[in-house]
Subunit: 247 residues, 6 copies
């Protein structure tokens, strides 16, 4: 029997996605991404020097990295700021490593040999799926920062060589669902995050089961739903970028 | 000769102020305050226990405190997150102490004997005057959190006993100006922040001159402009609150 | 054309695995696990109080957590100790969260309502696959700590309800390989870690591609190889445990 | 009705001030300043390199900064050392920023293009007014460090271009008082710190009211008292410096 | 041939020692100790609760601990404050552990079952021998804090059961010397610190040779000199204490 | 009456000592040292740059330093990892400073003008005497790292100019004992650590009495026992090294 979602979505249906470009004055790229009630500000900043570990390695390319944080009251229960504990939450570290890896997988670092791009993802309101929203929003912010560099003739070639999209899937009461909202995430036996490129290839597959191990069938179904969802997200991203070009 | 401001304001004219109430789902009080291009999210969170230093002191009242931070790209040059340095920037500490002191000065802590209210002020976009915007925005968020408590019968009496407003003034090229934008702040010989209550009494007077000491006349004129500006801010706050009541 | 592994293993062949039980005097459970040249000391410690976040949540169960670290010269290039930077490496955090989650998935926390078990995984020598070796070794250390508790009548029922095994797989020069050694890991386009239980259900699936996105076929083949490898590991674990019982 | 001070001072009377020059062997400038029972050791150290943020900014001038701390038992209740908390108390940060700003306002940094002067203010005994004592003492220590540099021909021109003095004022039981001792500070409705130069111009005006907002009349009277007090302090500083010259 | 000391002392001669009691207002015991040009403020503070590790151990006694620090310009080269590095210098840790151990060896902790005494040793001026000066000064501060407790009837018996004294010895150009000043310490092949009680028994013997190993004869001579020096120090301490009693 | 040791050793008898050379793949020198049940992994790593404080001092020599840590369950009671407290335990700091000083005393730093050798001592199992075991084991690891450098012609002369050995002695129930095991250490009135070279000269003498001061006779007997024990250790080290040469 099928599961009734609180917002009446079908099992494989995305929440409404909305990206506001140029959300802030100063950054080279900045968006507000909303996926349902989840809201994340993603900015892309160009730093005119590469980090020390790259410099010292002798590599001839630049770098791209991400930072992720949540405003204290983006969540229902107030979150203590990391600065008071002198360390970054383990969860934030995992997420920002994921965002950085995902975007580097479609980015040609040799195009920015003396630069670093920093993607800042700050969650304003959290309702599930903040990490995948951050990847989707960062992609557009990164695109805009690349356009900024292209206009200034800082690039030989545009460094982004593929679209990427990210979405969550999960199993709730034995039903496989796409794009879990916070209440669903809380109830999920399994939580999976998938990042894919435009050609349907995988960049990240992360499935985690703390409560109940999951079957091969459930895994396959989550992968299928995710593929469908990511296709829709990449279509929306293309639309957004085209609109920007016509302005 | 009078100074030409980049946005054509008169010397004693405020920037446009706009407060969006209930900006976020979860907090007991939350606003987005905009003063010109400066944008700050202010939330008020109710914590059902008092901090340790109050408990241990044997005091019979609760507490009210504030935290202040800036998103990395709220400013033109990317700001390093505090968590990477394991300490809070000195400037942030000063500002959040100022916000907390200011709001405590009109708040009856004995009304919340077993609670703490935390005001989080996160700057989304910085164009001068972020600390005074944070005080003005926090006042409304605090008001809404108090209404939240009143509705639940957690209060004997409403704990806010006066309105407060805050504004900056400064001296640029020997001209006294009200409500400095970022470019004016950068050029200012003197930078002053004033917090007053509805009766025109002072809560904070902080004037700082790194470049050129200022005269008694300049001090008096800044005080006068600030009084005028704060009156207008308090009028706007009253309007905002009344609107809320009619809903 | 098939890939020639430096140690002549077949693509889906595990390295030799060896677990030395009761490796140390003091811990309630302790093993040295060797998978090829990778060597990890895993200990299980019983702490007679639950962590604060459980106590405060009102939950009626205990806790199980893991810590992971590497000796400075377990690797070819000396690793700076975390204590000099005042923070845990992001990679260590991810790994210890993975170990903890994996073992909790087959552990009944309600059997130890007033206790916490801490699994310490310290890598003595690293040659690829340290995180999966840590999971496999911790399982036996945990088993022994549970026997320790059972002998003292601290348990109503034995809290481990399933076997688990963990292994890596990857893609090197377009060949899918099982149980990557360090040189293979370095050359891998994709790196995947899989944790499964005795019934062939998934506990964790983590596939990461920084260099080249991977196809659906590669994903399926890695899953298949991992299933085979984990079955063999679980067989070895059973053997090890039976031997202990006959002593 | 006028307020009876515990040491019988008049409302606008300073405590006795005493500065011992060359208090320590090693520093280029060092004083013990006593204002009543408040005792602060102030030293000026010459560092032959400018801080990184100046170097990187491309500026052609040196720097002057201050550090402030209290010995654990300078106060009635023992103060925990900052080093045990891995952070500087917010109050200390505010104070040392104030001391640095104040002294920079009368110091020509271009005279020391490749140097930094560090003013260390360590409170030995605290009885109110430690921050203003620190400013007054640092001024003499800085003067002596400048003489030290002048003797070695390291300066084109003497970099101090004005005297500065600092004092507190406050309102206790509705009486405006100058130079508050600790018991008065504790009872004060308002606490104000003022820094002025020899010409009667303001460098800092910081008035804070946590308990009761203050009136315009009170503000004006505190400013008047402070002006009188600072004049006396600057006279004493001149005397001290002249005595040094006659030795 | 015998070594000529810069201050003409004989090889086994102490520098002048001077202890100023009740040096500060607030602490229960406080002295300024001067041994030659070395100056240390030692205070003894009574804390009305025992530290956590004693409480949790179930022990029925109180505790006594020490902290040691140097003012930034107590030395010729300015010392960075620990608080900026978020850790205590290794040297300070060793010294404060030595001070605490030494004083605990003559102190009956069962006399203060619910208290902790904290000895703060802050070096104002360093000219060699700061750790032994700190022990000698702390002894008097501790004595005064015990008198403070005895007057208030907080003690059954006076908890100090023996005098202790501490002194350094060393080998400079193959000459054994007592009580090294800073220039001698710098030139020393061996540096030794000895703590003894009134009966000539050893509490601590710490001899360190980084440059040249030392012979058995040198060791024996250093022990002999130290015994003589400590006797003189204990005589002076007795004198000091008697003087206090006659007041 | 003489004391009966739990393992039937004579008062001046060492526990069995065993050193396994080349214990790990990667380090330039690595041993597992066992002294009774105490087990320490000691590695020597060659770093091709000198630390900053040497570089900045203008010195023409390299450096040698040590780090010491214990695995969490090397001891009976689990030890919290330093990384969670953001500081190194005071005890570890003292020990690693002792190890570094001891080995530098027989090492010619001018032979490695552009290098640093780091000795990592990680205790796997602790049963008393871990610091002296670490010195003895590090000596062999250091020897092997020097051979590694000699083979590559990085040295003009072999930089180790003497053997060193280290051992503990103590007083238990008024009996002087050599090489204390953990249970003896716990019961000891005095705990002493001695480091000597091959010629019977002292490098370190550290005797500490927290409970009962010790007599001159006890001190002399501990020194005598230690001399005997260290001779035996150095003989064993020579044997070990010779064996290596014949391989």
């Amino acid at each position: 029997m099928s599961y009734k979602r609180s917002d009446n979505r079908k099992a494989d249906q995305l929440r409404e996605i909305k990206i506001t470009r140029n959300y802030l004055h100063d950054p080279e790229g900045s968006v507000l991404i909303e996926m349902g009630n989840t809201k994340v500000i993603c900015t892309a900043s160009i730093d005119h020097k590469v980090p020390k570990f790259i410099r010292e390695s002798g590599a001839k390319h630049g770098w791209l990295t991400a930072e992720y944080d949540m405003l204290p009251r983006s969540a229902n229960k107030r979150i203590l700021r990391d600065r008071y504990q002198g360390k970054i939450k383990g969860r934030s570290q995992e997420i920002q490593r994921l965002i950085g890896r995902s975007l580097r997988s479609v980015f040609d670092l040799t195009q920015i040999p003396d630069k670093q791009i920093i993607l800042d993802c700050d969650v304003i309101q959290a309702d599930g799926g903040t990490r995948t929203a951050a990847i989707n929003g960062s992609f557009i912010a990164l695109y805009d920062a690349c356009s900024f560099m292209r206009e200034r003739k800082w690039l030989k070639e545009f460094p982004i060589n593929n679209f990427i999209g990210a979405i969550s899937a999960g199993v709730v009461q034995d039903n496989v669902l796409l794009d879990l909202a916070y209440d669903e995430d809380l109830a999920a036996q399994v939580d999976m995050n998938i990042v894919m490129d435009e050609n349907g290839k995988y960049i990240e597959v992360q499935g985690t089961s703390e409560k109940t191990p999951f079957t091969s069938e459930q895994l396959q179904k989550m992968l299928k739903y995710a593929e469908k969802g990511i296709k829709e997200i990449i279509e929306y991203q293309k639309e957004i970028i085209l609109k920007g070009l016509t302005l």
